[in-house]
């Protein structure tokens, strides 16, 4: 089980309180699809993904990004039990969605980059380190029910 120090929790919750879930979610998911185009394989029903501007403006991408980031909000509230928090989503991603866990790592890193762009000064190396730890924890929790 991952343990977060008081400083790490403060770094995470402090920055999270400033995040616009709709904006950051859409930006992160959009960039995942632009930078790593093979990830589009999971979103064939999303319509026009033919160019970076089409992807970033796509309403289904934005809506799904918001959904993903809202879920991350649950992680922030439950840092001491990420596995329990994501048990159901882990089963879903394995059994129904068939998502390679490598994609959780990719999206986690894209999100940290988006946070750096939005919150430059606040994303010190220590704050980044806390967020990377959480992203790794979330990715591991999402893999935990894979079989």
């Amino acid at each position: 089980m991952v343990h977060f120090t008081a400083e790490e929790k403060a770094a995470i919750t402090g920055l999270w309180s400033k995040v616009n879930v709709e904006q950051a979610g859409g930006e992160a998911l959009g960039r995942l699809l632009v930078v790593y185009p093979w990830t589009q394989r999971f979103f064939e029903g999303f319509g026009n993904l033919s160019s970076p501007s089409a992807i970033m403006g796509n309403p289904k991408v934005k809506a799904h990004g918001k959904k993903v980031l809202t879920s991350l909000g649950d992680a922030v509230k439950n840092l001491e039990d990420l596995k329990g928090t994501f048990a159901h989503l882990s089963e879903l991603h394995c059994d129904k969605l068939h998502v390679d866990p490598e994609n959780f790592r990719l999206l986690g890193n894209v999100l940290v980059i988006v946070l750096a762009q939005l919150f430059g000064k606040e994303l010190t190396p220590q704050v980044q380190a806390a967020w990377q730890k959480m992203m790794t924890g979330v990715a591991n929790a999402l893999v935990s029910k894979y079989h």
Binding site: R31, I113, A116, P125, A129
Partner: protein, 142 residues
């Protein structure tokens, strides 16, 4: 992996804009990789790794010089970095996963310092370029 004309133009423009500051950003990327991914410190037992370290700054400058060299020769990165490929294969033998970690931290650094320039297309160009540099660095590993 081949860079498109557009990606090449974007990278050259960014490097022109960064000018003499590339070393500042690569040093920050190193500080970030040591903080976020402590396993990377195992390659530097002989360094002072505290923030502000002169050794890390000097190493940042070396990394910056190599990346600048690569940007100056985007049509032949393997040729431009051939000596570094040999070095990493036969002497340094840094596990390839670590180049990905450093590349990620460099993207975080550049997104921070150039938020207005860091469009999804810029992000993709940089990621692709750094991925190419990494594969060149490990190309002679075996």
């Amino acid at each position: 992996m081949v860079l498109t004309e557009n990606e090449t133009a974007i990278l050259r423009a960014l490097w022109r804009k960064m000018g003499d500051h590339v070393g500042i950003y690569t040093t920050e990327a190193l500080e970030r990789v040591f903080a976020a991914f402590p396993s990377t410190k195992t390659y530097f037992p002989h360094f002072n790794l505290k923030p502000g370290s002169a050794q890390v700054k000097a190493h940042g400058k070396k990394v910056a010089a190599a990346l600048t060299q690569a940007v100056a020769h985007l049509d032949n990165v393997p040729g431009a970095l051939s000596a570094l490929s040999d070095l990493h294969a036969h002497r340094l033998r840094v596990d390839p996963v670590n180049f990905q970690l450093l590349a990620h931290c460099l993207l975080v650094t550049l997104a921070r310092h150039y938020p207005g320039d860091f469009s999804p297309t810029m992000h993709a160009s940089l990621d692709k370029f750094l991925s190419h540099v990494n594969s060149v660095l490990v190309s002679k590993y075996r």
